[in-house]
Assembly symmetry: C2
Homo-oligomer: 212 residues x 2
Amino acid sequence: MADTKPKQAAPGEEQPPSGTRRRGDVLENAILQAAWEELRETGYGKLTMEAVASRAKTNKTAVYRRWPNKAKLVVATMMKHAPKPSLEPPDTGDLREDVLALLQGLIKPIQIIGSETIKGLMVDFHGDELHAKLTLPPRSEDILVKAIKDILRQADKRGEVKLDTIPERVVGLPVDLVRFELLATHTPLTDEAIREIVDDLFLPLVLRERNH
Amino acid sequence: MADTKPKQAAPGEEQPPSGTRRRGDVLENAILQAAWEELRETGYGKLTMEAVASRAKTNKTAVYRRWPNKAKLVVATMMKHAPKPSLEPPDTGDLREDVLALLQGLIKPIQIIGSETIKGLMVDFHGDELHAKLTLPPRSEDILVKAIKDILRQADKRGEVKLDTIPERVVGLPVDLVRFELLATHTPLTDEAIREIVDDLFLPLVLRERNH
DNA sequence: TCACATAAGGTACGGTACGTACCGTACTCT
DNA sequence: AGAGTACGGTACGTACCGTACCTTATGTGA
């Protein structure tokens, strides 16, 4: 009861200039940066809130004040630090090249994030309201599917395909398959695999009307 | 030191006939049964070794004596209790019907197991030597892909397709897509989706040579 | 038949990580 | 200047893991 004054238990080795207390965005960015580094070094499964806080030179409390759990924190840090695929149609003037370029640009960001993180997030978000956003937008709203459609639209203008005869499944096929490979394997997606997806599957399907 | 005799701390309410101590396979099956029920009721993420042991009316020790961790235990219980897809070619005499039948038979078992369990296992096995088996066999050894190939072989005999002109990717496509849907969504895979996979993607690809 | 290895029952522990509570203190804003 | 806010820091309660250790039943082979 008496003597409730833990104030400064240990005088500390060297109190670094205590006149610098980070706050607001500064601290927030430090945490997100720490989380990002921690994520890339130890992976999602082994990432702990304590380690993130420690690396950011702060403590769990400051982290939990901002994000209620690991999954949300990691999503936040990914939104900030993970490279985003460029979604403008490459527009090389050739359907095949366009699709290849898009897919190759797509895998890099996901490769960096890593399948382990994605799976971990899917598990931790299971049942969460955000779940849908992380797994599958309704396809028609999927930005990557939209990008494919843009490419197809241009090809349609050039007369390479007839867009309105192509089923939605076919449009979404390349993206679905790339995502599947990234989920199901943990080896990097090779250029050869992408070539197969485009040449053996996608192109034959979108171009098939021309065989009539 | 002295008086080391905790023998029977509490005399217990009613010592049920202590003359029945399960052992060997009996106990093992009880644990697997309990794990299976626990898995279906609470899901993989919330399943705990304690709960399994408790439901099996035994204790963690007996569980850990047999399986080193949750993931291995769950795999064991799935091998025992999860229905297995029938892999014999349905052989309805029609390629489309065969593939539809196979896929429809395939989704049921996975549906029962649940995507949450599969994802959880993939996460827990990340880096484990069993990882490959749970995610992707080298495609050429994938029993489901082999089943598709069997179906195609029969169709080839009937003259519906020319098997040796069909790329591996195409053969594996239906299975890959079904797996993807099950991983990426947590809503059940509809018959309509399966129909699309077969009619919009698979059949056009395997039958396309006939358009020449 | 009985001693003994084996394995089940059971308790308790050390360890990790989570998420929360609390307090004192620095900073910011008006 | 004063007050509210948010950071730094510690400590706590919970949950679950995986292990250690001991007691007790079982059934097998000497």
